[in-house]
């Protein structure tokens, strides 16, 4: 207190610096306020058809994924046609809110026109905005769907037009050389036939997209399964799942612009393109869409489509443009498939992959539109130098196209084509001989087929010859050159024989003397049946023909030239029987023909002993047997009664002497007669074929008087014949059941008739006895038409003719005459034992025979039943 301190004068501060704090806060608040007012956004109104999927406060407005606004309110529009959506837009969006600005609702949508907004599945629907030009506005009409092109600030958006979507989806990657450079943003249906796919390419890759870039679909897997393995090609795993699009850079320098439109090809091949060629073929066998066009085994294109035309099939093929130079107007196309033969197996893979069309490039300048024929076979570039020939054969020998033509088993050419000749008479083979072998083929050369397996089984043994496998499968023909030096010229025609033997025989035939024989039957002959002369083959039958008009056969024979001297006027032919057994009472004669002839039938040539003046026509008959031939037998037709027991080989006899034989007997279809063919031996034919000759059947007749024609008991009935006297000859005769009564009566015998009222024991053949000597016989008997008596026809042998005359008495001496009287005793009277058994007629003549009292055939003498005693007294001395 003692010290008074000077008072401190403190200047009172009017405002504390603390007041800066509220000022700062105010400024801050004001700034925030201003800022929030500034950033509070712009309220716009978007008219939507429906508020579905739009939520107040939730649904955002996004631009390229950036939220630029938010739905603040939804109201129904005045005419109840939609909703007005109020959106608070970010203040920064103000420049975009122009008349052409587009808004649309993005929601997950999968419909026929497109798939979009997959992202909204997680984030919810949003309203997308695409800024546009025009004056500023705040009222908008929402788009129904997303516009095709989304604004890409980075990269470009291209439109790809495709006929179908495939597996492309929103988000499918876009590849460039398998590098993903973009993606599919959206797709939509454009009209009815086209789909527009919007693809986005990132900015750093936009330089790859040119105006002439090509886009193609790489969706899914490309599985290339071939024999070389299975190759699975895909751009990426993503493209398997989501599809994908690839493109090439093109060559133009002009870069693509946003919104450029490109076609989307279905694959790289068609995208890269090439030139189209039109191919035609007769049919589409083995050619389908996708069939490759190959040149030297490299695929240069493929068949795109095929369609039917008026005269065949037309293919449209696309050739890869880097190979387009190969296709020129003179290019050649042919179909080549797998060649599967044991000779060679080529292009086995094509069994699986199908045939390909091979291409041979031409040298001309390509033109705009080219049309080609697809040849069935590869063109042969050596054709010019090859020798083309035609080979004719009677039948197809089984060689196929491409079969080899050989010489000494070396291939010298091949068969190009097998076809029938124009008149269908022959088979024609077009063959080609390699240039170096053309000198082998000379005039007169011929071909024979190679048989894979030649089995030659003959009586000499069996030989089996085999060729190589190729021959077995394809066949081959061999050249047999001729000795001629003259070469054949191109397109000459040569012959293909069945075998060398056939060829030789064919040549031999040409050197042979041919003749035609006629035969009444086929004679068991066949083509090739041998002809023998003295059991040596001198020729063969070449043909056996049936003549319809005459029902006969003609046999064409050919005789080796060296044996032609054997053909003489007296040459005759007969067929050999395998075994000729000539068994008769005289003995058995067995003749065995040569074995070949025995099997095939054969003909023997022989000569008549005498130079007969017969016409050659008769000589050219084929006789049934040597005998007939040598007899120069003549053929006649005999009509026999149906009851006749005549068989083939029955003899024809005259007076017991054989003058011919029956060849065959056939029952007439009318069943009333038998038709027989018979031979008359040449020596007698003339007499016995006169038209009044009589033929009859001779059968054995057994009676008490004896056996007539006893040989027929062994040989069977035969035909008897009586020669005629007419000058006319004929071939047709009718045989009678019996011979004429006087058939066996010698012409100069004495004939007469006996009359009796009873036949008694008299038979045909009942002998006439003169003094116990048989001098004649009864030839027949006949009941008079009136029925009162019986006429007996009798004759007396020539040498006894003078013993009978009109004064002769004839009585029946048949049986035993036994007179028994009481006083005279028994008197047995018999002419002979024969008369006891067979009966007989005794004769006694009173007068000497002279010209006036000779008996004639018409004389009728009563046959007495009893001999008068005085007749025994008659003893005229007769003179011959």
């Amino acid at each position: 207190m003692t010290q008074i301190e000077s008072p401190k004068v403190v200047k009172k501060k009017l405002f504390s610096p603390i007041w800066l704090l509220p000022v700062v806060a105010l400024i801050l608040g004001a700034w925030l306020g201003v800022k929030s007012i500034k950033e509070s956004g712009i309220e716009i109104m978007i008219h939507f058809p429906s508020a579905a999927g739009i939520d107040i406060g939730k649904t955002l407005v996004k631009y390229q994924g950036l939220t630029v606004g938010k739905v603040s309110d939804i109201g129904i529009d005045d005419d109840l046609k939609g909703v007005n959506v109020k959106v608070i837009m970010d203040y920064r969006a103000d420049p975009f809110l122009n008349q052409n600005t587009l808004f649309w609702l993005v929601k997950p949508k999968a419909s026929i026109t497109g798939v979009e907004g997959l992202d909204t599945l997680f984030s919810g629907n949003y309203i997308a905005i695409q800024p546009g030009e025009g004056r500023s506005t705040t009222e908008f009409e929402a788009q129904r769907e997303a516009p095709a092109i989304l604004p890409g600030s980075e990269g470009i958006m291209v439109e790809l037009k495709a006929p179908k979507l495939g597996s492309i989806d929103v988000g499918s990657p876009v590849f460039f050389r398998q590098v993903p450079v973009g993606s599919v943003v959206s797709y939509r249906l454009d009209g009815k036939k086209q789909i527009i796919i919007s693809a986005f390419v990132q900015e750093q890759y936009t330089h790859l997209v040119h105006k002439d870039s090509r886009f193609w679909n790489v969706s899914g897997l490309k599985i290339d399964a071939s024999l070389s393995g299975v190759k699975i090609n895909t751009e990426s795993i993503a493209s398997i799942l989501a599809g994908g699009i690839s493109f090439d850079s093109g060559s133009e320098t002009e870069l693509a612009k946003n919104g450029d439109s490109y076609p989307l090809f279905h694959d790289e091949q068609s995208a890269i393109g090439g030139i189209n060629v039109t191919l035609t073929a007769a049919n589409a066998d083995d050619i389908s869409e996708g069939t490759a066009l190959e040149y030297r085994g490299i695929k240069i294109g493929q068949v795109d489509s095929k369609q039917l035309t008026d005269d065949g099939v037309q293919f449209t093929a696309q050739v890869n443009h880097k190979y387009k130079d190969l296709i020129t107007p003179d290019s050649r196309f042919w179909l080549s498939g797998a060649e599967l033969s044991l000779k060679a197996m080529k292009n086995i893979g094509r069994l699986v992959t199908g045939s390909v069309i091979s291409v041979l490039p031409g040298s001309q300048i390509a033109t705009e539109s080219m049309q080609f024929e697809i040849a069935p076979q590869a063109p042969d570039l050596l054709t010019a130098d090859k020798l083309a020939l035609t080979v004719e054969a009677n039948t197809h020998t089984g060689v196929s196209n491409g079969a080899q033509v050989r010489y000494k088993q070396l291939p010298i050419g091949q068969i190009i084509n097998v076809n029938l000749s124009e008149d269908f008479a022959k088979v024609e083979y077009q063959i080609e001989i390699l240039p170096e072998f053309t000198r082998l083929v000379t005039q007169g050369s011929f071909f024979v087929p190679e048989s894979a397996l030649a089995i030659n089984a003959s009586l000499d043994g069996v030989s089996v010859a085999t060729r190589d496998l190729t021959t077995m499968l394809e066949g081959a023909i061999s050249l047999v050159p001729a000795k001629s030096k003259t070469l054949v010229t191109a397109n000459d025609t040569l012959t293909l024989y069945e075998s060398i033997e056939a060829a030789k025989s064919m040549f031999a035939k040409q050197q042979m003397r041919t003749m035609t024989l006629t035969s009444i039957d086929g004679a068991d002959l066949a083509e090739g049946s041998p002809i023998y002369y003295k059991k040596m083959q001198i020729g063969a039958v070449s043909k056996v023909n049936w003549q319809a008009e005459t029902d006969k056969f003609t046999v064409d024979i050919s005789i080796d030239k060296k044996f032609t001297p054997l053909i003489k006027p007296n040459t005759v032919f007969w067929r050999n029987n395998a075994v000729a057994i000539n068994a008769s009472l005289a003995g058995v004669d067995i003749d065995v023909a040569p074995l070949k002839g025995a099997i095939n039938g054969s003909i023997t040539l022989g000569h008549l002993n005498t130079e007969l003046a017969n016409d050659t026509q008769a000589n050219l008959r084929l006789y049934d047997s040597q005998a007939l031939a040598l007899m120069q037998a003549k053929v006649i037709d005999l009509i026999l009664p149906v009851s006749a027991k005549i068989t083939a080989n029955a003899a024809i006899r005259y007076q017991g002497h054989q003058i011919g034989e029956i060849s065959q007997v056939k029952l007439d279809p009318t069943l009333t007669t038998l038709n027989a063919k018979a031979y008359l031996y040449g020596d007698y034919a003339e007499r016995f074929s006169r038209d009044d000759s009589e033929f009859f059947i001779v059968e054995a007749q057994i009676s008490l008087a004896g056996i007539q024609a006893p040989d027929t008991l062994l040989t069977g009935p035969y035909i008897g014949v009586i020669p005629g006297n007419n000058t006319f000859t004929t071939n047709q005769f009718t045989a009678l059941n019996h011979a004429r009564l006087d058939a066996n009566v010698p012409a100069d015998a004495v004939r007469f008739q006996l009359v009796d009222n009873q036949l008694g024991s008299i038979k045909v053949g009942t002998p006439l006895f003169f003094r116990g000597i048989n001098i004649g016989q009864i030839d027949g008997y006949q009941l008079a038409d009136s029925g009162i008596d019986i006429t007996l026809y009798a004759h007396v042998e020539t040498q006894y003719r003078h013993l009978v005359n009109q004064s002769s008495q004839f009585w029946d001496a048949s049986g035993i005459k036994l007179d028994v009287g009481l006083f005279s005793g028994a008197q047995l009277e018999a002419q002979s034992l024969e008369t006891i058994l067979a009966g007989g007629i005794a004769i006694a003549t009173r007068d000497v025979t002279n010209d006036s009292n000779r008996l004639s055939a018409n004389d009728r003498i009563k046959l007495q039943h009893k001999m008068l005693p005085e007749w025994a007294e008659w003893q005229p001395v007769q003179a011959r």
Binding site: E5, K8, K12, K13, F15, S16, I18, W19, L20, L21, P22, V24, A25, L26, L28, G29, L32, G33, S36, K58, L60, T67, F122, S123, G124
Partner: protein, 230 residues
């Protein structure tokens, strides 16, 4: 009453030099006796000393500037509280959708979802308490500055209530900071404090400061001066 006791105790403990003031009425103030407390170490100093004998802090019998400071802080807090209520306090990202919530919208969400108790707590802590505090402080400051006729008793009670309740205002910030720390799942679900949180925090801080800065002796001065009928 306690203050009285306290005052009497102080006086009774005064050094003997002051003993002549024993008879003085209880409302006799230290500055009247030439004494003042060191604001820092609470040493009783003579008002004549410009500095504390112990800690050499500056001594002043009354800090009249504190009213001004308190006012300034209070005004700042008020401004910030407005901002804190207007601007979103949290930024919630739910499956990519960002939602801003103001304090009030948060409470209304709670009400909408039926969580009334929490809504009441949050409402109390986030809206009622700050406003009450600011209002209360403003009342005291006005009472100091403009000699408003408010009963001494009410002022006393109010002052204690404000002091006690002020600390609870930080509840909101705790909630926010906890949410931010726990809910952090990127785009799916994420919570972040928004600008209002800062403002709100500043409000709490500034009101606390405003209460702290105010030299309450001025208030007591006024209480002593006026004839309190209560």
């Amino acid at each position: 009453m306690t203050t009285k006791h306290t005052t009497e105790d102080i006086i009774s403990n005064l050094p003997p030099v002051l003993s002549h003031t024993d008879a003085a009425p209880v409302h006799i103030q230290g500055n009247q006796m030439g004494l003042c407390l060191c604001p820092v170490c609470k040493k009783l100093n003579r008002t004549t000393n410009s500095n504390c004998r112990r800690c050499y802090s500056k001594l002043a019998t009354r800090n009249y500037a504190s009213v001004q400071q308190s006012w300034a802080l209070l005004v700042t807090a008020t401004i910030l509280l407005v901002l804190a209520n207007v601007y979103p306090i949290t930024l919630l990202t739910n499956r990519g959708v960002v939602t801003n919530d103001t304090i009030f919208s948060g409470i209304s969400h709670l009400v909408q979802t039926g969580m009334f108790p929490i809504a009441i707590i949050v409402f109390t802590a986030s809206i009622l308490v700050p406003w009450l505090k600011i209002f209360g402080l403003a009342t005291y400051l006005a009472a100091i500055s403009f000699n408003l006729p408010i009963s001494k008793r009410k002022l006393m009670v109010g002052f204690h209530v404000i002091e006690w309740i002020g600390r609870w205002s930080m509840l909101d910030l705790f909630v926010i900071s906890l949410t931010v720390a726990l809910v952090n799942m990127g785009q799916l679900l994420d919570a972040k404090p928004a600008p209002a949180a800062t403002a709100f925090a500043l409000v709490i801080l500034l009101t606390q400061l405003a209460a702290k800065v105010l030299d309450t002796r001025l208030l007591w001065d006024r209480l002593e001066k006026t004839h309190d009928t209560n």
